[in-house]
Assembly symmetry: C2
DNA sequence: GTCTATATACGGATAGAC
DNA sequence: GTCTATCCGTATATAGAC
């Protein structure tokens, strides 16, 4: 891996973080360059436009998500345990969620308002999760309604993240996570 | 009501619409002035800063919301019918939601990322709804957990709106609205 | 590959004539 | 109350020296 690749990676990592914490529109090239430790001018050697960085960030998030979910699948044999693990992610990330919301949800919301060309790419992050949830639900014997249940679970998580963020209320997130687990157990 | 008040009202109405459809950061003074039919320069006679417009928009949304909810309370005697009516709002607004998400949720999400001073004011829109839901739930005999159930309902609605927006999937919204009503009936 | 200087456009905001 | 002209900062983006 050359030095160029390392710089490229640093830029994407910095942009990923800043897009999450500040939003896409509100984050400037300078912000990213400063955070990555790359001089403003040299920036354009790696990315020609802001959209290119966004595409790289979406790609990275989708890959990271897929890796995490695959690891849970390898680690846990019982599909119900895997789904529980998914809910545990909410609790584990409660600090970030209270401050910045969900990285997938808030980005999709922002890009929808911008009528951004990459909005459908951002929605593919959700697809990664939805497909994984659906597979676990099928393994649980819910083949018929697995897809709908997966979307339902996705929406529940997004609602919890949004309200937790708006109210800065981690106690709410914890209560709802417990309730989601009861819902899983009843499936 | 003088001409100044009318112009002021036109500005707030235009800003309300644009903040919903384009987001706060991405909407410029020029956008609002153009939409309201007010010359750019004259704008500052009514509002000194963009934040002042935002404050007026939040105020208007909260008032409009309170009026709508009060009307439902006057129209329907049964608290369960009132709650059903709340769920019906999702279905009625499905076109807007699919395109732009929830006006409350998307604004709170955006302001949280900006670390905007008015973020807590925006959250007060949620409080108007939460308090109303809580009252209906208490009237249903759920005094003990009315507050938690109200927040739960709020979060369910937000999750549905977000996923509907991300996937542009009105069928999902309709299915989830039906499910929410079943949940209400089981209370 | 790295960095400086700079072009160009647009944002929010102001002064002041009418 | 209305409108024009304009300031200043910042944003994206480019040219070109090193």
């Amino acid at each position: 891996m050359g030095k160029g690749d390392i710089n490229r990676q640093k830029i994407v990592a910095a942009a990923d973080d800043l897009f999450y914490r500040q939003g896409y529109v509100h984050t400037s090239f300078s912000d990213i360059a400063d955070a990555a430790g790359i001089p403003r001018g040299n920036f354009y050697y790696y990315f020609k436009t802001k959209d290119e960085i966004l595409a790289a960030v979406i790609d990275q998030r989708a890959h990271h998500l897929a890796e995490t979910l695959a690891a849970w699948e390898a680690e846990l044999a019982d599909p119900r345990d895997r789904l529980r693990r998914y809910v545990d992610m909410l609790t584990a990330e409660q600090e970030h969620i209270a401050q910045y919301g969900c990285p997938m949800g808030s980005l999709c919301t922002e890009l929808a308002k911008l009528r951004h060309a990459l909005q459908s790419d951002a929605a593919r992050m959700f697809e990664v999760v939805r497909a994984w949830l659906e597979r676990q639900l099928k393994a649980l014997g819910r083949a018929r309604d697995a897809r709908q249940l997966a979307l339902h679970l996705l929406a529940r998580g997004q609602g919890i993240a949004l309200i937790t963020n708006a109210y800065r209320d981690r106690a709410f997130l914890q209560r709802e996570a417990r309730e989601l687990k009861r819902w899983l157990d009843a499936l």
